[in-house]
């Protein structure tokens, strides 16, 4: 028993070695896959961000029609870059809601004045709590959510002009 125990460190190391070696030769994934796809939105209810526009709760995503959920902030530069794409999606008749991260009402109002306002509702997430629950690591991120409140697609980073088609397709495919 004692002699056997002496070989235990070597055995543990061999195990470690096997795991790491297998990790080394597996090609790294260039695109981060979403862990949220196929899962329902977490429950949340956020207060209104700007006067005159309602806040956002998870219940509004279970009304039978697919919607986009855009996570953004007035202090985020890529959010400005993706604004024209969001306006285009809105013009195609896709409803878009938003969660504003760590932001203030005047700043958001200014952002919408400068970059356009594609949103029906904007919830204020002051402490990034809902953002974390959504499994979103930064801004901007956009989720396509079907009529039952299930996430069908997640776009990490800004929506580029070339992403618009796939988003429209995802909305069409969603029930």
């Amino acid at each position: 028993m004692k002699r056997f125990a002496l070989w235990a460190p070597l055995a543990i190391f061999a195990l470690l070695f096997a795991v790491v070696a297998s990790g080394l030769f597996r090609p790294a994934e260039k695109v981060v896959r979403s862990a949220m796809v196929g899962k329902p939105l977490p429950d949340f209810a956020l207060p209104a961000m700007v006067p005159g526009k309602p806040g956002l709760s998870s219940a509004s995503f279970r009304q039978g029609k697919p919607r986009l959920l855009n996570v953004f902030a007035s202090w985020c530069i890529p959010c400005i870059a993706e604004a024209p794409q969001l306006m285009r999606l809105r013009a195609m008749g896709i409803p878009i809601d938003a969660i504003a991260i760590r932001d203030t009402a005047p700043a958001i109002a200014g952002f919408l004045r400068r970059n356009g306002d594609p949103y029906e509702r904007i919830g204020s997430d002051r402490a990034s709590q809902v953002q974390l629950a959504l499994g979103s690591s930064g801004v901007p991120e956009t989720f396509v959510i079907d009529g039952r409140g299930i996430v069908v697609k997640q776009i990490i980073g800004d929506i580029r002009p070339e992403n618009v088609a796939e988003i429209v397709q995802a909305v069409k495919d969603a029930r």
Binding site: P9, L10, F13, V20, G23, L24, F25, R33, W75, A107
Partner: protein, 637 residues
């Protein structure tokens, strides 16, 4: 010519390492003392040749020699000289050369200074050191040649990552590497002792100073790195559980455990097998850390190269060295006589508890760091972050602090539980007093426990000096007192930062005030500033607190080569904490984003780290002095 000379020096050093290994093997296997006697000088010359190669690489960077590939990829002629100098190791090949240079120099230092180890064990130790060096020379020469030329040469370089363009780069990597690679000496000692089956108090006494030196550098390197990340990254945090930070923490944990177990072996001849095991584990952690960083298997700010071929090379070296040492351990340790045993309530018992808890923390950090790789094997992408590490390691670290407080108050061999209780009554009182006082400002569970225990530990760590003649107390006792006190100070800083930090993010116009903690911060204006290889927008902030007014100038810096921007935070340090300011983006309508933190007593974290290292130095000084006195006495007798 310089590049070719550097490459030649590297080849010669590698050849000498091979020679050193062969001579050590012949010296021991055939009992040829004449061959063994030549091992020392070879080790010294090998170290010097590695140093020469490193010096020549630095020379190439200082000259901005754009016919050398490494210089082109990582430097630029317009950089300040300090970053050309430090840029020599701010990349994969250069940092590996630095690694090998320190390895060679460590072997050389052992050859010059180590006089108390039996000659046979020393020969075996230098043989082991040469074996490690040989593998890493091969790695440099065959897969990461730092001296490769570029034909035709480039007009200018691509520049250095702006995050690395900071005086910290000149000190942090060499310090940390000296710590990492210094542990190779302990590893080689352990292998040498296993080969000659000579494990005992004399061996432990010889090994202790070498472990201490590596541990001091490791402590300083981690402390400095933590402060560097704190002010340079502009995120207001001081430890991110980044894989590379963990890679430096793991050898430190193992080395700390080793430092304590080697004391048991030296004074009481106990824990023989365990000490040998720890010596192997400590340097193994260094090598695993190197592998994690250099293979690109984990992504991090510190990872330079993503190259599976290099990763495979280092992994093979790891398998040979760690696997070989562990196999030798399993085969030989049974033939090493068991040391003496001891009572559970004793200094030795306390040190065993310390070792167990440190090992558990080490295990947690190792699992947390490697888990993403394991999960990836099952097609799950995830990252393990602060919530896991804090929750899993935090409580055990606090338990360790409690053991730390009691341990030094125990007597060697056997102690009386009642007498111990009398000795710890004061520290327990301090802990309870702090715990009750803190109930009024409830800081959260972990910080509450941390602050209370820090108070207890602070009292307990100076308690060994009670009723002693302070002038006749040995220097290494002072070392222990100061190191333990440093942990208490650092812990208090961590808990205070975690519990009482205030953060605000505001968008302000010129003249508009913002409040954070006791400070009111006003944006006076924004002006452009030009540096040697960057331009910046600099905010002038006035921070008022009562009657005192101070100016802070955080910057948003733009670098041209390569084009990037960095946030240069501005920090106001006062006695009771730091005001940390970061300038963010403008909103285009005259408002600027400011991120402000008030961090009470956060500086204690690093001050404590420096105290810990200082304690290590005193202890080292005390041990070396006593050692010299005893050898001198023996010569007279």
């Amino acid at each position: 010519m310089i590049a070719e000379a550097g490459l030649a020096a590297l080849w010669f050093a590698g050849a000498l390492a091979a020679l050193q290994l062969v001579m050590a093997a012949i010296g021991i296997a055939r009992d040829r003392d004449d061959v063994a006697a030549a091992v020392r000088p070879v080790a010294i010359v090998q170290g010097l040749l590695a140093l020469l190669a490193m010096a020549l690489l630095i020379e190439l960077f200082l000259d901005s020699d754009m016919s050398v590939k490494l210089v082109v990829e990582n430097s630029h002629s317009a950089k300040p000289w300090l970053y050309k100098f430090a840029g020599a190791w701010g990349n994969h090949e250069g940092s590996m050369l630095l690694w090998v240079t320190i390895l060679g120099l460590a072997g050389g230092a052992v050859a010059i200074f180590e006089r108390s180890l039996p000659e046979r064990t020393l020969t075996a130790t230098l043989g082991a050191q040469a074996t490690i060096a040989l593998g890493f020379y091969a790695f440099l020469l065959f897969s990461s040649n730092p001296f490769a030329r570029l034909n035709p040469s480039a007009p200018d370089g691509l520049g250095l990552n702006p995050l690395l363009q900071d005086p910290g780069l000149a000190f942090h990597p060499p310090t940390l590497y000296t710590g990492y690679v210094g542990l190779s000496v302990a590893f080689s000692f352990a292998v040498g002792a296993l080969v000659t089956r000579d494990v005992g108090p004399a061996f432990a006494k010889a090994m202790r100073p070498w472990v201490l030196i590596a541990w001091i550098f490791l402590t300083l390197g981690i402390t400095a790195g933590s402060y560097w990340a704190y002010y340079e990254l502009g995120w207001g945090g001081w430890w991110f559980w980044d894989p590379v930070e963990n890679a430096s923490l793991m050898p430190w944990l193992a080395a700390t455990a080793l430092l304590h177990s080697v004391t048991v072996l030296a004074t009481r001849d106990g824990l023989r097998a365990w000490t040998i095991m720890l010596a192997v584990v400590a340097f193994s952690m260094s090598m695993i850390g190197t592998f994690l960083v250099r293979s690109g298997i984990l992504t991090s700010v510190h990872a330079f190269a993503v190259d599976p071929e290099r990763g495979a090379f280092i992994l093979a070296l790891l398998a040979i060295y760690i696997g070989g040492a562990l196999a030798l351990f399993a085969a030989r340790i049974g033939t090493v006589r068991a040391g003496t045993t001891f009572d559970p309530v004793s200094r030795e018992g306390g040190l065993v508890a310390n070792n167990l808890l440190l090992s558990v923390i080490l295990g947690i950090v190792l699992i947390g760091t490697l888990y993403p790789i394991v999960a990836a094997s099952f097609d799950v992408q995830l990252s393990v972050g602060p919530p896991f590490f804090n929750k899993a390691a935090g409580p055990i670290a606090l338990l360790l602090v409690a053991v730390m407080a009691v341990g030094p108050l125990l007597r060697w061999r056997r102690d009386d539980a009642k007498a111990v209780l009398r000795r710890v009554i004061l520290p327990i009182g301090a802990t309870l007093a702090a715990a009750i006082a803190l109930l009024f400002v409830w800081p959260g569970v972990l910080p509450w426990a941390g602050l209370s225990l820090a108070a207890g530990l602070a009292v307990a760590s100076v308690a060994p000096l009670r009723k002693r003649n302070l002038r006749r107390t040995p220097l290494f006792t002072y070392g222990m007192v100061i190191a333990h006190l440093g942990i208490a100070v650092s812990l208090a800083g961590m808990a205070s930062d975690r519990a009482f930090t205030q953060e605000t993010l505001v968008a302000v116009r010129t003249g508009e005030p913002a409040r954070v903690g006791p400070y009111t911060v006003t944006l006076d204006g924004i002006s452009p500033v030009i540096g040697q290889n960057w331009s910046a927008l600099e905010a002038r902030l006035t921070a008022t607190r009562g009657a005192s007014e101070r100016i802070l100038r955080p910057q948003l810096r733009f670098f041209a080569n390569p084009p990037t921007s960095t946030n240069e935070s501005a920090i106001l340090t006062v006695l009771d904490g730091q005001l940390y300011t970061v300038l963010g983006q403008p909103d285009g309508q005259g408002r600027w984003q400011l991120r402000l933190w008030w961090k009470p007593f956060v500086t204690l974290i690093w001050f404590g780290g420096v105290l810990v290292a200082l304690g290590g130095m005193l202890s080292l000084l005390g041990r070396v002095r006593r050692e010299r006195r005893t050898t001198m006495r023996n010569q007279w007798a």
